[in-house]
Symmetry: C2
Subunit: 553 residues, 2 copies
Amino acid sequence: MNPIEPSATSPEMVWSGWGDPARRRPLPESASAFLKQEIGWSGRATLPVALDAVRLRESALPPESLALFASIVGAGNVRTDRECRVVHAGGKSYPDIWRRRTGDAESAPDAVVFPNSHDEVQSVLSLCAKSGVAIVPFGGGTSVVGGVEPLRGRFSSVIALDLSRMRRLLSLDAQSHVAILEPGLRGGEAEALLATQGMTLGHFPQSYEYASIGGYVATRSAGQASTGYGRIDDLVTAVRVATPAGELRVGRGPASAAGPDLRELIVGSEGTLGVITEVSLQLHSRPHKRAFEGWFFRSWREGTQAFQRLAQEQCAPDVCRLSDADESRTNLALAGLSHAKERLLNGYLGLRGYRGGCLAIVGWEGTGSSVKVRKTASRAVLASAGGLRLGASIGNAWEHGRYHGPYLRDELMDRGIFIETLETAATWSGLHPLYDAVRGALQKTLAARGTPPLVLCHVSHLYESGASLYFTFLANQEEGAELAQWRAAKTAACEAIVSCGATITHHHAVGTDHAPYYPQEIGALGVAAMRAVKTTLDPHGILNPGKLLVQSI
Amino acid sequence: MNPIEPSATSPEMVWSGWGDPARRRPLPESASAFLKQEIGWSGRATLPVALDAVRLRESALPPESLALFASIVGAGNVRTDRECRVVHAGGKSYPDIWRRRTGDAESAPDAVVFPNSHDEVQSVLSLCAKSGVAIVPFGGGTSVVGGVEPLRGRFSSVIALDLSRMRRLLSLDAQSHVAILEPGLRGGEAEALLATQGMTLGHFPQSYEYASIGGYVATRSAGQASTGYGRIDDLVTAVRVATPAGELRVGRGPASAAGPDLRELIVGSEGTLGVITEVSLQLHSRPHKRAFEGWFFRSWREGTQAFQRLAQEQCAPDVCRLSDADESRTNLALAGLSHAKERLLNGYLGLRGYRGGCLAIVGWEGTGSSVKVRKTASRAVLASAGGLRLGASIGNAWEHGRYHGPYLRDELMDRGIFIETLETAATWSGLHPLYDAVRGALQKTLAARGTPPLVLCHVSHLYESGASLYFTFLANQEEGAELAQWRAAKTAACEAIVSCGATITHHHAVGTDHAPYYPQEIGALGVAAMRAVKTTLDPHGILNPGKLLVQSI
């Protein structure tokens, strides 16, 4: 087949928040009262500054340097205009967005370079290595851990290497269910291309509409249906990587016992070892049927026990999410149900003894008959574990809004609200202590600063040995100390995670935010091994300075 | 829990072949005629020399060196006696066994050291690094690729580090289905210990009765039921490793996005980066039910298409094996069926139009109800793809003899027969070209040497994107040129695999036999990255010289 490109694409991301502002939905009326009651919201509004008011340094790259980049990628593909530099001044974490909204893009890259092929990437790397320019590989720009912050390390200039022109389906082996995709394809674009071939990747992170294939791989991501389809690390069969030391191709599908698996060095390398230019991915037949439904449990403990059984009795749905009581309550409050509907639901839950309990969303994908068989098996476990089936409408409502979370954050930030998410994972035996520790750390730290938070949590992915926990927390912004407030909460949560022996991240990656905790996770000798690989592939250290392994450690 | 040891263990391996000679079964009477007809067997017998006649160099380690090892592990745990050195003079590959049978153990290690803990291993590594002694980590000693050949590299002496005393179940997290095991536990011993806790690892390579947990991990192994339970790389959640540079602990279960997955550097490292001293493994509930059955397909192509559907329609049995026509015919001939039974089976197959076709063995494990549901789904696909169900008795016969293959090899080697196995994997679209290429290369090469072979093959593991191919071939030994004959056949097969772009090994590992082909598989930069890690963890290069990455490449 000839390489094919997506026929349509999402609008570019707004520089001051998430996605396409036209797709934001206003908060329901009930939200204000809820926020006042829960976190003492003051009712204030805090809108972003105008783009022209954003502070930006002059580009440190002189015209002759820019001309050298242009000689590789073409003149129109080296940009230094304000909007482009501001958009690439960071990712989509709370501090990233907060800085840009308040007019700070001082750290913006000196230029944004848009290559169109592996060879162009390779040439850009050579040029940067020779001229001492740091490079931040930039896919969808959706990092929520500072992964695309344009740090320059010991170099005087930095470019963002935006891969959005590399957005082709290069080949498809329909018999073997394997496709080779370019890194700049966004999740939705890739799915649309694969759908024309009757296939799916089955990877649906909340950032799906903007995150890129290369970003999935570089950050070792998981999606909402990864309990069924597997994490991206399960789906990558091979990668082609441009490194300052040359080309690296790793992966020999479908399985191999030939030494260590070097794919696993690239998956999760966060642009610090090389730039991923092609990804070979394991696909599935496109599901004929998707079914989602809501269940309710009397308690968090009852719900997690049910989910443990699903995983260990090999009948987990593809999507498995279990909210704690606070998240269940909050989701219902922010769903904008009519008073009548809300009363009806609460009445029903109360009658059945489930009031104040926990909402689970489960979903199955596949052929009609496989969904039927698997649904029967899952339902039997959920019911026998104490679950109350609420039916498809609540499941479909979740499915309908599954990518809407980041828009909601923009709405809340417009109201002076601090909102952040973080995630980790633990074995089943360690899940409750981890939950208590992280929740407690966030509550205590933010209460001590005078901004008591609302802390929400859900189990988002199941494994036979454990599950992930995904926390969302919101509080009034601490006016004048917004970043200090964020830092305090983030530090408290990370320290709680580390003290439980859990991983600092289940699917958001390390970036800059988790870099201080990463060395503890792999130990001194693990760090030394990683450094040895880094020095081999990127001897000058031009790739994504300050991410993953901070040089000074 | 306190660490527990297995209550019983298999007898030690015989030095001249496989396992416990008392468990060998004589070839059925029909076998002689079959071998004469198929490979022109001469009828000669070639028995191993007596142990006393095996040539062995004096140990290069002086008593004062041995005393230093003894000061770490205890005097009785440093052995230099003839039998122990000969047993550790190699693994269980055809050339390994052929050399020892014919009296050549010249390369035997200078001593065999038996540590009993991580700390003892660490101390032995320090001593070896300081005194310049090479180390060959030795688990079950079942390598069939030269993985435990006692090469000394640039050192004047070499020890085998036998881990068989480290055979404890250290801990079990029953809620999370995770156990920590010591590396020296044999497969069967580990299963027996886990069975007392209601759990299984589900890893059943043909070497299961002797292979060790550490060996599974070091060689990235797969077992007969890995289509269902996953390969060992899917089951390892963490490892503790003693390296000359210190202790390395990697793995943070159940899943993490914190950087590259360093577990995957240790899995498959074949003792070249460190000695695995603890393995944390994902378990499953012990199955209540195991069901095996035989199916027949009219052709290899029809059978592989059926297996492809099983994998891609998510209804593959846990055990999936499909023999080509020659292997099907051979297995029936060597099964020792009575003439009446054989006639009956062939008559039935002929009547149904399946004569000369391909035998498949499939098996399911789990709860009674899950086996029932899954069996129904698998059978529907097998039948609609053209399969003929032969029923449970042929499946049970396979299950009964599943670990017997290596004993059969001893029987054949006693008859002057060259018999070897090798394996690879490919995507579904690449499977038939690979099959034709390897089979053709073996046939052509051995026919040209005057020893036309019988080449057998089966599909042994299924993945959504492809499958593994396992070849067995036998021919008359080329008297006086047995190793040259082996080398020629092995080289031809490996070159055929490489020219198809397939992996040089799906589950046997690299060892010395595949080391010449490994660099091509990971590329020059992959080799450089591996060397960088090796230099970091084993700066003096004392660990398993000549395996995986040969220094001179």
